[in-house]
C-alpha cells in the first residue's frame, strides 16, 4: 500500500489539548486511549457546540413559525449539508439521520429488504461483517424464507473475490460489505465489489462505520447504493448516524417508522408521506447530536483528512514494526491494505486478561469478539485484543502499549 502523503504533519500536541480526557490523569495514570474503533473521543469544539445549541438555541425542528424554531431547523439542516459534502453525496435529501450505523442498516433491511427480498432469494454478506450487518439480514431472511450467502476471506483477512461472480446469482437481492473491518483493519475493495454487483444489477450496502473516520469517502465515486455510518466513531457524539442512499432506491422504499415529521397529511382514510429525507425521519430527531456531528466534520476537515490518514498510517506501521519484535504475539489481520486497527493475541493468555492488565496501566483497548463472532470462528480464536489508532494518538502511546504487553507476559510467565 502506498502511504498517504501530506504536506504538513498533524500538530498532535496541540490537538490533544482539545481532549480533556487525554490531559487529565486517569486513576493517577496518563490515559492511553487506543479504543477509537469502539467509540472515538469527542473534541472540545464539538462538545461546546452542542452545549451552546442546547443552552441557547434549542427547540424542535421543522415545526412552528417561531424564529427560534426556524434557526434551530437551519442549524440542523446545515449539519445535513456538511455530511452531504463530506461523503460527496449528490443531494442532502439523500442523507437520512439515524441513531447510528446499526439503525441505518436495520432501516434498509426493514424497508428495501422487506419490499425486495422474497422466499428463496439471497442476501450476500462478507465474512468479516460486524453483527450489525449480519443480524438485521438474518431477521429478514427468517421472515421471508431467504438465504444468507457469504463472501469468504483468507487467513490473512482479505476477501476472496475470485468466486464473487458465482456468488452473485439471479436470486441475489442485495450485497452487504464493510468498508473497513473493525476486527482486522482490512480496507475492502468496495468499489470493485460494487462494480461487479452492479454488473448483475444487485445493489450494495456499505457499512462505513470504520471507513468514514479513517478514509476520505466519496459515495459517488464508489457508486454505493447505501452507505451507513455513525457519528461517535468520527469525533461526533453518540445517538446520531447517517444512512446515505441512492435516490431512486430511497424514493421507492416504503417508510419505516411512522409518526410526526414524516407525513404530508394524515386522514383516517389515507395518510400521505413526505419526500426525502423526512419520509424516514419520524419523530423528534437528535438535533444537538446532528449539529455536533456537523461540527465534528468541520473539525476533521480542518485537520485535513489526508493528514489524518497519513498520521494514522504512520502509527499503524510503527505499531506493526514494534509488535514484530515481540515474542509470543500474533497479529490478527495481515491484509495488505489496512487502516488504524491492530488486533492481536498473546500466546496462552486470554485477551480479557490482557485487557485487564493493560487497564491497570491506563491503557484502554478492546478485548473480546468485537461484535464479529463469525470472524472469530473463521480464524478459530475466541477473542482478540484490539488497539485502534486515531489522529490524537502518538508513538508514545504505542510504546506504552508495548511496555504493557511485556508486563502482561511477565505476570503470566
Amino acid at each position: 500500500m502506498t502511504p498517504p502523503t501530506a504536506t504538513h504533519p498533524l500538530d498532535v500536541a496541540r490537538i490533544r489539548q482539545d481532549f480533556p480526557a487525554l490531559t487529565t490523569p486517569f486513576h493517577g495514570k496518563r490515559l492511553v486511549y487506543l479504543d477509537s474503533a469502539v467509540s472515538g473521543l469527542t473534541p472540545r469544539p464539538v462538545v461546546e457546540r452542542m452545549a451552546k445549541y442546547q443552552s441557547y438555541e434549542h427547540t424542535n425542528v421543522h415545526r412552528g413559525v417561531s424564529t427560534l424554531s426556524q434557526e434551530a431547523t437551519d442549524r440542523f439542516e446545515e449539519a445535513r449539508e456538511k455530511v452531504r459534502a463530506f461523503i460527496n453525496a449528490p443531494t442532502a435529501a439523500q442523507i437520512i439521520w439515524t441513531r447510528g450505523t446499526t439503525e441505518s442498516i436495520n432501516l434498509v433491511a426493514q424497508t428495501f429488504g422487506r419490499a425486495q427480498v422474497g422466499a428463496g432469494d439471497e442476501i450476500l454478506l462478507s465474512a468479516m461483517e460486524h453483527h450489525s450487518n449480519i443480524v438485521p439480514w438474518q431477521i429478514l431472511a427468517e421472515e421471508k424464507g431467504a438465504r444468507i450467502r457469504v463472501i469468504p476471506m483468507t487467513d490473512a483477512g482479505e476477501l476472496i473475490l475470485d468466486g464473487l461472480d458465482g456468488l452473485l446469482t439471479e436470486r441475489t437481492r442485495i450485497v452487504g460489505v464493510t468498508h473497513v473491518s473493525n476486527v482486522l483493519g482490512t480496507i475492502n475493495p468496495v468499489k470493485e465489489i460494487i462494480r461487479r454487483a452492479h454488473a448483475r444489477k444487485v445493489p450494495v450496502l456499505v457499512d462505513g462505520a470504520q471507513g468514514v473516520p479513517h478514509l476520505p469517502v466519496d459515495v459517488a465515486d464508489l457508486d454505493a447504493d447505501f452507505y451507513a455510518f455513525s457519528g461517535h466513531k468520527m469525533s461526533g457524539p453518540t445517538g446520531i448516524g447517517v444512512l446515505y442512499g441512492r435516490r431512486e432506491l430511497l424514493e421507492a422504499m416504503p417508510p419505516w417508522q411512522g409518526g410526526g415529521s414524516m407525513i404530508l397529511s394524515v386522514k383516517w382514510e389515507k395518510t400521505t408521506y413526505c419526500g426525502l429525507p423526512s419520509k424516514f425521519e419520524a419523530g423528534t430527531p437528535a438535533i444537538a447530536q446532528a449539529i455536533g456531528l456537523g461540527t465534528a466534520i468541520d473539525y476533521l476537515r480542518e485537520l485535513g483528512l489526508e493528514r489524518i490518514a497519513a498520521h494514522e498510517h504512520d502509527l499503524l506501521a510503527y505499531a506493526t514494526e514494534r509488535f514484530a519484535a515481540l515474542d509470543g504475539v500474533r497479529i490478527i489481520g495481515q491484509a495488505r491494505n489496512k487502516a488504524s486497527v491492530l488486533s492481536f493475541v498473546l500466546e496462552d493468555i486470554h485477551p480479557h486478561d490482557v485487557g485487564t492488565i493493560l487497564d491497570h496501566e491506563g491503557i484502554v483497548v478492546r478485548a473480546g469478539h468485537h461484535c464479529a463472532q463469525p470472524v472469530m470462528e473463521r480464524l478459530a480464536i475466541p477473542a482478540t485484543t484490539r488497539a485502534s489508532f486515531s489522529y490524537f494518538n502518538t508513538r508514545e502511546d504505542i510504546d506504552a502499549l508495548v511496555s504493557g504487553i511485556l508486563k502482561v507476559q511477565e505476570i503470566f510467565k
Binding site: P351, P382, I411
Partner: protein, 149 residues
C-alpha cells in the same frame, strides 16, 4: 486496585496454566454448560453425584485466566463434598465477589477461594469469576445451560 498482581496471584496463574480436573467425564449424573457472551468464556461441567456427595467433577472449555482458575479451584474444593456444602460454597463465593461477605471477618468455608476476593473491585471481571459457580449451581439444580447475561 493499583497492582494487577493482587488479582493475578501465582496460584491463579498456575491453575490457569494447569487446570485441575480438566477433561471429560463419560458417565455423569449432572451437567451444565456455562456461557459468558461478553468474552466468550465457555465452560462445560460434568459431575458424578452419589448418595448426596460430589464423587467426581470435571470441566472443559475455554476462557480467561480468571474463569479457568476459578473453575479449576472450584473443582478441587467441591470434589468429595456433600452437595449441600457445594451449594454453600456457591453462595459464599458469590457473596464474597459481590462484596457482601468479608472472608477475613465472617465465618466461611471458602479456604483458598478467598484468592478471588479482589475481583470484587473489578466489575468487568466479576462474571468471569462467577461463571463456573453459576454453572455448578445449574448442574446441581438440573438446569442444562446458564448464561451470565
Amino acid at each position: 486496585m493499583s497492582d494487577p498482581r493482587e488479582l493475578y496471584q501465582q496460584v491463579i496463574i498456575e491453575h490457569n496454566k494447569k487446570p485441575r480436573n480438566f477433561g471429560d467425564l463419560e458417565a455423569c449424573t449432572h451437567q451444565a454448560h456455562g456461557l459468558n457472551p461478553l468474552c466468550g468464556d465457555d465452560i462445560s461441567l460434568k459431575l458424578v453425584v452419589e448418595d448426596g456427595v460430589v464423587r467426581d467433577i470435571r470441566f472443559q472449555g475455554q476462557g480467561c485466566a480468571i474463569s479457568k482458575a476459578s473453575c479449576s479451584l472450584m473443582t478441587v474444593q467441591v470434589k468429595g463434598r456433600p452437595v449441600a456444602e457445594a451449594e454453600t460454597l456457591v453462595e459464599q463465593f458469590r457473596e464474597m465477589i459481590r462484596g457482601g461477605l468479608d472472608p477475613s471477618a465472617q465465618p466461611n468455608i471458602l479456604g483458598r477461594l478467598t484468592l478471588f476476593e479482589s475481583v470484587k473491585n473489578l466489575p468487568s471481571r466479576v462474571k468471569c469469576a462467577v461463571l463456573p459457580w453459576a454453572t455448578l449451581h445449574s448442574a446441581l439444580q438440573g438446569e442444562e445451560t446458564v448464561s451470565t447475561e
